[in-house]
Amino acid sequence: MAKSSLDKKFDQIRKREEEKTFSTKKRSRIVNKFLNNRLAVLGLIIFTIIILASIFAPLLSPYDPMRVDLRSMRQPPSFDHWFGTDSTGRDVFTRVLFGGRVSIFIGLGSAILSAVVGIAVGCYAGYKGGWIDVIALRISEIFMSFPQIILVLLLVSITGQSLFNLMAIFILTGWGGMYRLARARMLSLREEEYVQALRSFGLSTFTICYKHMLPNALSPIMVNITLSTAMFILTEAGLSFLGLGVPLNIPTWGNILNVAQDILILQNYWWMWGPVGIVISVFVLCVNFIGDGLRDSTDPSQQG
């Protein structure tokens, strides 16, 4: 009797099992699941391209992002200037590349640092409870009750515009959200019986809350990191647009966009603000895709 194709497949599986070659892939389950998510992979690819392009900006463009060239003002996109030039003759493509360095650094850096602070405080306080929790909660409320713009204005007027001031303010105002997220997850997780079981072994608080509980609290936090990366990039763009963010001489995506304040430029010279707007949107979208992918792949109960 001829073997059906299913039988053949099954024989192969059995053979591999006998030879112990079955599932010898050492790649981690999380990576596998992430790679199966097409949108996330696409997001990661574009994200990597934009970051690499920013890092290697001097190799990709012959121009200096700061150099004024009055002979080639407001030129439309051409082979010499891919995204055209701005009102002082600077190459927009070069400025977008160099601007990415600062914008991404601010966005990603502030998001990650505020997450680190928020998670560190939130996990411990949420698990321990008691007065530590009360104090941490009140402090976070104080920081969250200040409007970002006022804080920026305050700091800019005291110490002047600078990149690190901006990041410091983003972290100060941003860690509260992460803290609350982490704390809320910990509050519900600490009643789970596996946590009680770990306590019944007398394991240290640090091992229990950072090693065993944190991975289960991470998926909403991951998503939040990506969302706040996007938000910080947009806020930076917004603040720079208003002239409050990064000093205007440093190219950032926001500073490039700044020119669109002029109605003349907005109407007639689309290349000065269009490409950079698209780059910002694409980057933010990619970061969100990656966040979604991470959330799905770190959730162990979802098959991938």
Binding site: E192, Q196, A197, L198, S200, F201, H212, P300
Partner: protein, 335 residues
Amino acid sequence: MKKEILKLRGVKVHFPVQAGVFNRVVGHVLAVDGVDLDIFRGEVLGLAGESGCGKTTLGKAILRLVEPTDGEVKYISLDDNETELTSLEKKEMDPFRKKLQIVFQDPHSSLNPSFTIFGSLQDPLKKFGIKSKEERRKIIGDLLEAVNMRREYMDRYPHEFSGGQRQRIGIVRALCLEPELIVCDEAVSALDVSIQAQVLKLLMQLKKEKNLTYLFITHDLSVTEYLCDRIAVMYLGRIVELCDSEDLYNNTLHPYSEALISAIPVADLDKQTKRIVLEGDVPSPVNPPKGCPFHPRCPKATDICKTEVPTLKKYSTNGNEHYASCHLIDLPEIS
């Protein structure tokens, strides 16, 4: 000769009830309100009672997962050294953590979903001095085989297992440090009846092999009847009756136990049972009734029950010790 492994004296667990803007303490939930209990080495002690009577809290108080408000929990080692556990510092408690373990009720929340079985079980072993990974894998693998599971399962994640399998993994976790006493906190209540029997059989087999003592917390008296050597019945944070399991069924002294036993379904159509239906709910443990806590629901309550709190007194049935706290028992008290 029976030797104690644990002595509980006047154990109380009170949870504060907070209210108002300033979280003022307005009262206490008397979850466990003065429990005296001896647990002997090698026995299976059942702890029965309805929901909310403090069984689980008592079990957790023994392990200090819940800090007792008052009272003593004494551990007696094999060479008769007594240690009072409730006053120990966190670090000093460690050697006793090894001796006392717990199996939880809900197999779905008792395993960490982010770790493989080995991943979540290895930290306790590491902490208690098993340094090499091979050794840890061997210990866990052996135990998995002891609960009729395959060694390879240690590299799987909890969501790949069924409820009964998870519960057996929970037992592996409790066993991995070779404890002397295991608190089984409703260990089989969440399982199907057929799986219940399987897990109970396994527990009894392990008890024999490893000389374990069980404190078996349950609300299902039909389970305790076959498993336990002695049974303690709790009501509203107190023990109301404590005796050999046979005596509980044949010579019931406390009216509450009577009502519980009459509620066990009997698979015999011809047998007429007199069902005692208790009126009302368990009174609030925040504000327990004066006198005997059971008197508002007791079918036999008299005037003395409303005013005086009965104490746990010693009687004798069938030549065995039999403790009960009720004013209406007309047996001679033994001092």
